[in-house]
Subunit: 274 residues, 2 copies
DNA sequence: CTAATAGTGTCTATTAGACAGTATGTT
DNA sequence: AACATACTGTCTAATAGACACTATTAG
């Protein structure tokens, strides 16, 4: 039975914070960006791909496997500050779009001890951090293959190494869009990070349709063709030009500048409308 | 510098899980339902309101204040199992719709020690637990007043007591729909639970438009008028009958049963379409 | 000239909004 | 009969999808 106290001060003086077994918390960050894949034909535009920043683990557990940038939360650190600190450490940039995604708390997700991890999604224009990257970090291009039976095949490629894992999506209940994820094969990614990556990609896809977050991944100036390509690669489908332009018309403003030298008609540069 | 190990076993043997200061985690559950407010006029239908289950704290901190049902996560308990356990304890029902919302981790949100809390949203048809409620728990009807300057005034009423708090919503960045919340006045709710309540209400409102979660709050059989009222009270606006019926037409199926005795034309009972 | 993308005009199909009208129970 | 809600028909407005067409550059 609880002892009864007469004031909050009295209660706190008597309180032993170690009555419950404590646990560790980490944050993991999905740093997304878009990259250009050069194409041999001088006329064709570069093919855009989603890309994600991974770091190679240099010690156990999961030594030599790739994982999301992350780290432990300080006992006196705000939950929202931890991912900012880690982003600063990894990219040396402060003002990056950051959003909390989901908290993963399976009992055995870390072999060391009980660790609960909150995942965040960061969106950035990759050009902003050309040479700031740490050596252990690498950008991986993402390709998603949606197979039948709700199995998703995810291929990550950093130009040197190709990583591949499959996840089965199981609808949890018929009233929502929520899935349970089951990792079918994964040899190269640490922890439960395959789940984190897929759920981040799905969140991004979702939010694309009702927010303007895509502009956090765009440079200051861009053509509508480039913007459309980014939409297409995230949504995983082609869009019709006129429809696309109608929808984003009031979100962007045309500049007088043009992008030329691409082997075809130049296009106007636009910026996100303040 | 990290010591280098030759295998994961070797590493784990040497690993001291107490190198980092640990913290406590709790879960808080927003248990939402709808209630009927009786109306004097025998012809008129009952007015529906959103309601939420709160419990009165019987000890410090925040003694005698109302808070969300919740509790500490066991060191060997899955994060998703904790809210199920607590729901079972509070309502004695197993199959309740449950969804993770957001993790709150301000350093000083609990005066005892560092506590990070993951909030969940549960949706239930209140009629399923008529007499199962614990004595300390109480259903509060929710009324939301959206004032100018992005201030929301929230009034909770359990028939005996009226609680009121105001929250200012501050848009975080122009590319999204995300707000920072600032509690302006709150005398009766414990912890940061005013924030949790508001963010849950917003999530519910959002999800109403692209999922079928509303049916988790409905009884097996309902009239379209009742369903429309629930939509209206969550969305905070009136809907036009023909438009509403067009939209939900393929989600429900008509039965041969009718609801009569309401002082006006009877209506068919529908059920959620499997 | 050709290949490739940029950008627009317009028709059609679909969906959402609005309003008016008819239907049918209770008291 | 009066009231309140149930339910439907239909017109209009707005939006999305489809396709064809013109424009403009580098090579």
């Amino acid at each position: 039975m609880n002892k009864v106290y007469n004031s909050e001060e009295e209660f706190l003086k008597d309180y032993n914070p170690d009555d419950f077994k404590k646990l560790s918390m980490t944050v993991d960050i999905l740093i997304f960006s878009v990259s250009n894949e050069e194409v041999e034909n001088y006329r064709k535009t570069d093919k855009k791909k989603m890309s994600i920043l991974l770091v190679k683990r240099d010690n156990y557990p999961f030594k030599d496997k790739w994982c999301l940038p992350g780290g432990f939360i300080g006992i006196d650190e705000e939950l929202d500050e931890a991912p900012k600190r880690i982003l600063k450490r990894e990219t040396n940039i402060d003002d990056i779009y950051l959003e909390q995604l989901y908290t993963f708390g399976s009992v055995n997700r870390d072999p060391r001890m009980r660790v609960v991890s909150t995942s965040f999604m960061a969106l950035i224009d990759k050009n902003r951090l050309k040479e700031n990257l740490k050596k252990s970090a690498s950008w991986f291009d993402i390709t998603l293959y949606e197979e039948k039976n709700n199995i998703v095949d995810i291929v990550l490629d950093n130009g040197i190494e190709t990583i591949n894992f499959k996840i089965e999506k199981i609808l949890r209940e018929k009233t929502t869009d929520r899935y349970s994820f089951k990792v079918l094969n994964n040899d190269s990614i640490a922890f439960d990070h395959p789940l984190v990556i897929l759920s981040g990609l799905e969140r991004l896809k979702n939010k694309l349709e009702y927010t303007d977050i895509v502009f956090n991944m765009m440079p200051e100036l861009f053509t509508l063709g480039e913007l459309q390509q980014v939409y297409e690669v995230i949504l995983g489908k082609k869009l019709l030009d006129p429809a696309f332009r109608r929808i984003i018309a009031n979100k962007v403003e045309k500049t007088k500048m043009m992008k030329t030298g691409e082997g075809h008609r130049p296009s106007y540069l636009f910026r996100y409308k303040k």
